[in-house]
């Protein structure tokens, strides 16, 4: 306070000026407080979207996925089905396949979509809250709010986010062989990512179906897998397939040490089986 007054005097401000400024600041504060109190005025301020799991109210469901790396044969059907249903071009694949190696050097096939982290780094950093964790644990994008700054892309520890660098006019070669586009193409300049086929889940629940059990309410990548290496379901429901697998088999999550709390679990590869075709 002393410094303030001193500097004020040094630059030709009187005590009255300083008090006046302080009063003005108080007035602004009071107006802000009034805005917060009166519901009508408060509704003018958009409510910030919850950004972390602790802020999001826990819903009834927590959708999750289990991918069995000991079964995956790397056929890439899940990759193509995703591209058809979500209308994704080759260079923006939401679901990717890579040939990976175990610590012992054995080859295995890894497919990776968005991990739907409960403490998602991408959600934390978005300057406009365009991406957020839903109550059911799914991390989604609001394409109408995204400004395309690509901070989420820099933040994602899994390379799961893809930017629309250009306006799309391509013909999707995966249609109709691998499925039919169920959602709109995203506009130029926004970020996009795997949604766990959220449109199927929401529509399915409305019609009384159980995602993970009924095919119409289950992500395309899970439905198409020819070796049943992908499972989907409610992690909150102990009876669901995914919960049963998690209870009975050892599973890992990618980069778990970062504290991102992914909703996608992997059954580790079985090296010997893979080497013995």
């Amino acid at each position: 306070m002393t410094t303030h007054t001193e500097s004020g005097q040094a630059t030709g401000m009187t005590r009255r000026d300083v008090l006046g400024i302080m009063g003005l600041t108080g007035l602004v504060g009071a107006i802000a407080a009034i805005f917060g109190r009166i519901p009508f005025l408060r509704s003018l301020i958009p409510a910030p979207r919850p950004a972390t799991r602790s802020e999001t109210e826990r819903g009834e469901h927590h959708w999750g996925m289990v991918i069995d790396l000991s079964r995956c044969i790397g056929c890439e059907y899940c990759v193509y089905a995703c591209q058809a249903v979500n209308d994704v071009p080759d260079d923006m694949r939401w679901n990717v396949h890579v040939i990976d190696r175990t610590a012992a050097g054995d080859i295995f096939h890894l497919t990776r979509n968005c991990m739907h982290c409960q403490e998602a780094p991408c959600v934390m950093v978005c300057p406009v809250g365009a991406t957020y964790v839903r109550e059911d644990g799914i991390v989604v994008m609001d394409y109408d709010v995204c400004i395309g700054c690509r901070y989420c892309q820099a933040a994602c520890p899994y390379d799961a986010r893809h930017f629309n660098w250009k306006a799309r006019d391509d013909v999707n070669p995966y249609e109709p062989t691998w499925g039919v586009a169920e959602i709109e193409r995203r506009p130029r300049g926004v970020m996009e990512k795997c949604t766990f086929c959220v449109h199927r889940i929401d529509a399915g629940l409305e019609r009384g179906m159980i995602p993970g059990v009924h095919r119409e309410a289950t992500p395309a990548c899970v439905n198409i897998c020819p070796v049943e290496a992908r499972f989907f379901g409610d992690l909150n429901d102990p009876e669901s397939t995914v919960s049963q697998i998690l209870a009975s088999r050892p599973t890992i999550r990618l980069r778990e040490e970062l504290g991102t709390e992914p909703s996608v679990y992997y059954i580790p590869p079985d090296g010997e089986e893979r080497l013995d075709p």
């Binding site: 400024i21 979207r49 300057p127 406009v128 820099a154 933040a155 899994y158 130029r188 970062l258 991102t260």
Partner: protein
């Protein structure tokens, strides 16, 4: 029209300079319109390297405005009135830095039509959200700080009420300065933290980022304000501010530079030299960085030696500091160091592939990024805007109200020296 012709006759060199700047500005405008029409596909950015040249421009120009908040602190918080003569120049450099940054950002975001979204849609966890607010507010503060200077211009003197408004605004200068200081401290460091908090990125994720950013902004921003003041003085044949003040500023910039280098070295040592217990991905990321990119060369020779130690020595060595030519060299090197540091930070963290599964990192090559002609044109346009606005402001506004004729001032110095001898 006739007035313009007369002006060109009166100041042919200045007019030629302005005319020359129109060329890169035209190219920049053309490239900017192209980007707005066709999108970021015209850049060499990719999902692997989402940020590049324009983010470097954005970070560097914000940092180059760092002189404004340091000098505000000197004049209004510490009451060091002798820094007054250069305060307006610092505010001008800050204002131009922030407007340049906003231009670069407008180009860089995918949806420029939604630039205002952070104001309406809040995410209080996001550093970028906080930075957007700080930059918007601080740009407003700088505009208000600029206004008295503009209203003080000789060609507005006949409008009495404008002059009065300027004086009234000037009264609030200390409040604005203190408010601006808070905003600056917040976002200059947050810009570093923008990278520092990204837990998934082994090269970016560290606590020192914010400190390195704010210290380098203090050093580089002061150096830029000082350098342009010397250059203007040389061209005008005047002392825009007392020479003693320039030397003092150089000293402050030099010490800020040393502090920055000191922390930089320890930051490097704690990770690269003593960091045997670091997570494997970080060790691997750094070895990959030195084996496959010119990072080591640009870091040691660029950031540390040529654009770090050398300007620090020039600014702090009394004999060198007295030579204005040397100070210009030092200032340019210091600003270059600022830009190289921002470029290195932005690129180093992005190009290294992430290993989200054991062995996956080996599959992906180190990403490359070579800015396209469009990106360079926009950058050139922004730089030309900066130079143009600065030149015009210095020519037509009382940026240096206490500029004194060089000869007179030097005679005075000589006279006092003679007196002392006698």
């Amino acid at each position: 029209m006739k007035r313009i012709v007369n002006f060109i006759k009166e100041a042919p060199l200045f007019s030629a300079w302005i005319g020359f700047l129109l060329i890169p500005m035209a190219f920049g405008l053309y490239a900017g319109v192209q980007v707005l029409m066709k999108g970021l596909v015209l850049t060499d950015l990719s999902d692997r390297v989402p940020w590049g040249l324009w983010i470097t421009v954005d970070l560097s120009s914000i940092a180059s405005g760092g002189g404004a908040f340091i000098l505000s602190a000197f004049v209004y918080l510490l009451g060091l009135k002798r820094y007054r003569p250069i305060a307006r120049a610092a505010v001008l450099v800050g204002f131009l830095g922030y407007t340049s940054a906003m231009l670069a950002l407008l180009m860089d975001i995918g949806r420029p039509d939604r630039f205002w979204h952070p104001v309406v849609f809040w995410n209080v966890h996001s550093l970028l959200w906080e930075i957007t607010w700080c930059v918007l507010l601080y740009a407003s503060v700088l505009t208000l700080e600029m206004l008295p200077t503009v209203l003080d211009a000789p060609f507005l003197a006949r409008h009495k009420w404008l002059v009065k408004l300027g004086h009234t605004l000037h009264k609030f200068a200390p409040v604005l300065a203190v408010f601006g200081l808070g905003l600056s401290l917040l976002h200059q460091s947050s810009l570093g933290a923008t990278y520092g908090v990204l837990v998934g990125r082994p090269i970016w994720f560290k606590p020192t980022m914010s400190v390195l950013f704010i210290l380098s902004a203090a050093a580089g921003g002061l150096a830029l304000t000082m350098t342009v003041t010397i250059i203007v003085g040389r061209l005008a044949g005047k002392h825009m501010v007392p020479p003693k003040l320039i030397r003092e500023l150089a000293q402050v910039a030099g010490f800020a530079m040393l502090a920055y280098l000191y922390l930089k070295i320890w930051d490097w040592a704690s990770i690269a030299y003593y960091g045997h217990n670091l997570p494997a991905d970080r060790v691997e990321a750094f070895s990959l960085l030195s084996s496959s990119t010119p990072y080591d060369v640009t870091f040691w020779w660029g950031e540390v030696l040529l654009c770090g130690l050398i300007p620090a020595i020039i600014f702090l060595w009394p004999a060198l500091r007295r030579d204005e030519g040397m100070l210009i060299v030092g200032g340019i090197l210091a600003v270059a160091g600022l830009v190289i540091m921002r470029w290195n930070v932005t690129l180093s963290g992005a190009v290294i592939p992430m290993d989200w599964s054991p062995g996956v990192a080996d599959i992906f090559p180190v990403a490359t990024y070579n800015p396209t002609a469009i990106e360079w044109m926009v950058t050139g346009g922004i730089v030309a805007y900066w130079l143009m606005a600065f030149s015009l402001a210095v020519k037509f506004l009382p940026i240096y109200p206490e500029a004194a004729e060089r000869e007179v001032a030097e005679e005075k110095v000589a006279a006092t020296a003679a007196q002392k001898v006698a």
